[in-house]
């Protein structure tokens, strides 16, 4: 059974904060709830960005998600 939206957001944030890589593709969050539809996972991740708990990281051609503070700009690399 699919998680509730709040549970899904909590699972996504947990993964974003603990994954070895600071930036994750949206598909990497699908495993947080195998029963959820990809769009629901995307919407939950986007909500976390709106709430200021996650950031988008974009190379220009690809976009990834990162827990707030984990991703770095190219400026700092």
């Amino acid at each position: 059974m699919a998680l509730s939206k709040d549970e899904l957001k909590a699972a996504i944030l947990e993964k974003a904060m603990t994954a070895p890589k600071p930036q994750l593709y949206v598909k990497d969050f699908y495993a947080c709830d195998p029963d959820a539809k990809p769009r629901d996972v995307k919407n939950a991740a986007n909500d976390l960005v709106k709430e200021g708990k996650m950031d988008f990281w974009s190379s220009g051609s690809t976009t990834m998600y990162a827990a707030k503070g984990r991703a770095k700009d190219e400026e700092h690399r």
Partner: protein, 428 residues
């Protein structure tokens, strides 16, 4: 910011062509950071490597696209371009601007950016080149509130949809490209601004098979106008071309004397399926063999027109990357009527799009375009997902189509049949 010596770039100002180097030097009088663009580019020419880094968490609040972070890797030498982010603006359908709108955009960009633009990016966006992180939010606020203009797509988003001039300027438009482009842009605002996909996804809309926006070569989802009845022929106008009353190609190649128009040489013999011939003074077309190449219609626009039953063909999976191989789109839906329903939506087109997305979001690998996913799993699998019955037109050519994989239930006896028995029969 000081001027830099740019002997290599100065070479690009020689010759009869307009030069971006001259433009940058002129702009640098107002915006000194443009001297640093020139300096850094000169250094790149010497070092034979780019000195731009791109990517990061730059953007405007709530948007996961539209801004591409760009930084110099030699900021101490060129501080004016230490941050030099790119901003993509969603262009109006067919790029119809008023001059007042262009002035407003340029004025805003002079205020918040370098003033340098790229008209237009390959996705059709108006590209504003070079601003700093603190300027992004104020720029975005004025752009959206004062100019009623939005950002375009970047990253793993739906990219800014693009269309040809369509029926606004062209008699061959088989559907209203501008309407479809604008309606889908509004319908999919979330997908344009917030990353949803394994990788980028592009829509392009061409009104006829001339495909002026190169949708079949560049877009994941190409909607190309077509017709399914017969090409309309005005036999009197055909005679007019033969007698020289009308200039072929609407006079497009009239700068040189090509001699008398020869319908056999210039039209009939160039038909790729050889489906045209003359019977006396009458032009005949075997429309069942026509592949919509548009050559005859382009050469004799007064005499030939697309048929009356108009709609579009949907091709899926093109890409034109800098690295790795370019790929043409695969014809998936041979014909679809492009009509709005009572809710003002192109429901049939939306249904096709969302079938593709639902499947690709699930099955596509990270950084895999939908065309690559189709190549990986095979066209028959994709056609099953799309609930499309395979047709001969889906096959590139017999026995060499890399997509075709038989399923056990499609073969008599499945995989368990007696091969020796089969060979015996086959040998007879």
């Amino acid at each position: 910011m000081p001027k830099h010596d740019t002997p290599l770039l100065d070479e690009l100002e020689k010759g009869p062509w307009p030069s971006f180097v001259t433009d940058l030097k002129r702009q640098a009088e107002k915006k000194p950071e443009c001297f640093d663009i020139l300096g850094q580019l000169e250094l790149s020419f010497k070092d034979k490597i780019t000195h731009w880094k791109h990517g990061g968490i730059v953007g405007v609040f709530g948007y996961g696209g539209g801004i591409v972070g760009r930084y110099s890797d030699v900021p101490e030498r060129f501080p004016g371009v230490a941050h030099f982010h790119t901003v993509r603006l969603n262009q109006p359908s067919s790029k119809f601007y008023s001059s007042a709108k262009l002035r407003d955009i340029c004025n805003l960009w002079e205020k918040y950016g370098s003033g340098m633009t790229n008209m237009h990016g390959s996705t059709g966006d108006l590209v504003l080149l070079g601003t700093t992180t603190p300027n992004l939010e104020p720029l975005f606020y004025e752009l959206t509130h004062d100019l009623n203009q939005d950002l375009g797509g970047s990253g793993s988003n739906l990219r800014t949809p693009e269309c040809c001039l369509g029926r606004a300027r062209c008699e061959w438009g088989c559907y209203d490209t501008q309407d479809l482009c604008h309606t889908l842009t509004m319908h999919y605002q979330d997908e344009i601004h917030r990353p949803a996909f394994p990788y980028k996804f592009k829509f392009k809309f061409s009104g006829c098979p001339n495909d002026c926006v190169a949708a079949i070569a560049r877009s994941d989802f190409a909607v190309i106008g077509t017709w399914r009845d017969d090409i309309r022929i005005d036999q009197a106008a055909v005679k007019g071309y033969i007698t020289g009353e009308f200039a072929p190609n609407a006079g497009a190649h009239s700068g040189k004397d090509w001699g008398k128009f020869d319908i056999k040489k210039e039209v009939l013999d160039l038909c790729p399926t050889e489906c045209m011939w003359m019977e006396g003074d009458t032009l005949k077309i075997d429309n069942s063999e026509c592949t919509r190449c548009m050559h005859c219609i382009n050469v004799m626009p007064r005499a030939l027109r697309p048929g009356k039953q108009q709609g579009a063909t949907i091709c899926v999976g093109a890409k034109a990357p800098i690295l790795d191989g370019a790929q043409f789109a695969t014809m998936t839906i041979p014909f679809i009527e492009v009509k709005k329903n009572e809710d003002g939506e192109f429901a049939e087109v939306v249904e096709v799009i969302e079938k593709i997305w639902d499947w690709w979001m699930e099955v596509g690998k990270n950084r895999e375009r939908v065309g690559e996913t189709i190549m990986r799993v095979g066209l028959p699998t994709f056609l099953k997902v799309m609930e499309v019955t395979p047709a001969p037109q889906h096959v590139k050519e017999p026995r060499s189509n890399p997509y075709v994989f038989w399923q056990a239930d499609e073969v008599e006896g499945g995989w368990d049949r007696d091969v020796k028995e089969f060979r015996k029969r086959n040998a007879q």
